[in-house]
């Protein structure tokens, strides 16, 4: 911490001059990049449409409230579908991610080459958003709940797999050595030494992902993959904002409930 003497008093500063210059340079470059990006966006924006944004918002809110309460009766089935998509998708992902994570973890992988294949699957699954997976799957299975389930599963494999293999790599070595010393074979070591250490965190990760998936499943319908998003898309296209309001309320309630549930369960497990 450099101290300079100015007029016989010691002045304390946190950084020396060179470091301060570097920090300033970083800030300037960062600001310049941001402004440059902003300029590009500003050029692609029609500002005359933005000028009346507050009127648009107030008109939007006025037409959204009161929401169309009667429409809720038609929404129970889509809501059930949304929960089904999230739950079955998560279960499917769990059943694939558990073996995959054992292949991907450095300490349990059967072969290094297989490990890289597993890591590649995890990375690709994670990089593609579930809505994009849904776009692909709708083309294959046709629009509907099935496409949604598969889309959620394909995205979640990478998420669950990554966190699970990291937790496998962090397992304590003592139980493994102890079980191996009893003459257990590979499978028994897996069953008695690894699984008891990994399963609680695996369950926690999966429930966490389930709660994210509920949120994701609410929009899959926008590309035709089932759930309440189908109704949202239709209502937006018809400019029935009172119905959109009703859908927003249901989504809000569903996500809040699932988040609370998942937080409770995770607290109980860990």
């Amino acid at each position: 911490m450099p101290v300079t003497v100015v007029n016989n008093t010691k002045v304390w500063q946190r950084y020396d001059t060179a470091t301060r210059m570097k920090i300033w340079l970083g800030w300037i470059i960062g600001t310049a990049i941001t402004l440059l990006c902003w300029q590009l966006i500003s050029n692609n924006t029609r500002w005359e449409f933005v000028a009346d944004a507050s009127q648009q918002l107030s008109a939007f809110l006025q037409r959204m409230f009161p929401p169309d309460w009667a429409y809720a009766e038609q929404l129970w089935k889509p809501l059930w579908d949304t929960i089904t998509i999230a739950t079955l998708g998560t279960l499917l992902a769990m059943s694939i991610a558990l073996p995959l994570s054992f292949v991907a973890a450095r300490n349990t992988t059967p072969h290094p080459i297989l490990r890289y294949v597993a890591l590649l699957i995890i990375v690709i699954s994670r990089s593609v958003n579930s809505l994009i997976w849904a776009l692909i799957l709708v083309a294959i299975t046709g629009p509907g709940v099935l496409a949604g389930i598969l889309a959620i599963a394909l995205r979640s494999i990478g998420f669950i797999g990554k966190l699970a293999y990291e937790s496998i790599e962090e397992t304590s070595y003592e139980p493994i050595e102890a079980i191996t010393a009893t003459g257990a074979n590979r499978l028994q070591v897996l069953d008695y030494a690894y699984l008891p250490q990994v399963l609680p965190s695996f369950a926690g990760i999966s429930i966490f992902r389930w709660d994210i998936n509920i949120r994701e499943a609410t929009v899959l319908g926008l590309v035709g993959a089932g759930g309440i998003g189908l109704n949202l898309n239709a209502s937006v296209d018809l400019l029935r904002w009172d119905r959109v309001g009703m859908i927003f309320i249901l989504i809000f309630a569903l996500v809040l409930i699932s988040e609370t549930l998942s937080a409770r369960v995770r607290k109980a497990i860990i």
């Binding site: 902003w38 929009v219 989504i251 809040l256």
Partner: protein, 271 residues
């Protein structure tokens, strides 16, 4: 030795303790889950004929994924990708800047109850709705284009960052807080000298992480017209141009992987 082996070992065979200890809860959950599964699976319509036709299309899709077509729509792709990237930068910067005051306001140990509740409700709304849902609202407000996307991602960033920041602030060491307060510092000075130094490293780490997420999300908000590569991607799917779609997907995957590597590196160095 003979006495030891003769003792009834078999009757006291050790079993692994189950994951859920309470047997009523364990079996109840299992049976409930099975009933739910049966009902849920039976409620999923599966159209075999459609899937059979789709598999043929899936085969075509996979074969076109093996030869992605970057050239024929390169102009559209370039514009879309550039827009996604700029949206990510601007929305992350704006979102992080705005999330600091919201995060401070959502920390129980710093503010009064009304401010706390207001900031918490902003966080809850932002976190509850998926980005695309928020994008619909912003598109209504601002019209089609990247500005709606920037606002969407910035709003989602506020919820994410402010929540984690507030949790961090609530767990800070109270001693420096008290020391700075004892010097007679006001609220702003307390925050600058006692709170921010304790959380700033994590704030930077989280911002980098959120940059990753925003890049991923910027690829999809275009589906509802909020700019970025998403609208181009959806168009290619609607036109059955799977080789162009493959090119776009490959670009997205490479971009996401690169930023993830860089951000992982930065975050490790910060710790």
């Amino acid at each position: 030795m003979a006495e030891l082996t003769a003792s009834p070992v078999t009757s006291r065979r050790w079993r692994k303790p189950p994951l859920i200890r309470n047997p009523w809860l364990r079996w109840g959950l299992l049976i409930g889950a099975l009933i739910y599964l049966a009902v849920a699976i039976s409620s999923v319509p599966v159209d075999d004929a459609r899937i059979a036709r789709g598999l043929e299309r899936g085969g075509r899709m996979i074969s076109s994924f093996l030869r992605p077509d970057f050239a024929s729509r390169w102009y559209d792709i370039q514009i879309g990708v550039l827009e996604s990237l700029t949206m990510t930068v601007v929305s992350t910067v704006a979102g992080v800047l705005l999330s600091v005051p919201v995060g401070l306001g959502a920390a129980r140990n710093l503010v009064s109850a009304p401010i706390y509740l207001a900031c918490r409700s902003i966080i809850t709304i932002s976190r509850t709705f998926q980005e695309v849902v928020i994008a619909i609202v912003f598109v209504v407000m601002f019209g089609f284009g990247p500005l709606a996307g920037v606002c969407t991602l910035a709003f989602a960033t506020i919820g994410f960052m402010a929540k984690l920041l507030a949790e961090d602030i609530e767990e800070i060491d109270p001693a420096p807080l008290e020391a700075i307060r004892a010097t007679g510092a006001g609220w702003l000075k307390t925050v600058t000298y006692a709170v921010m130094p304790q959380v700033s490293a994590r704030l930077v780490g989280l911002s980098v992480y959120r940059f990753d997420i925003n890049l991923r999300e910027s690829a999809i908000v275009g589906i509802v017209g909020a700019g970025g590569i998403g609208s181009t991607l959806q168009t290619t799917f609607n036109r059955y141009d799977y080789d162009v779609a493959a090119a776009i997907l490959l670009i997205i995957i490479v971009l996401v992987m690169t930023t993830e590597l860089v951000s992982g590196h930065i975050r490790r160095r910060l710790q």
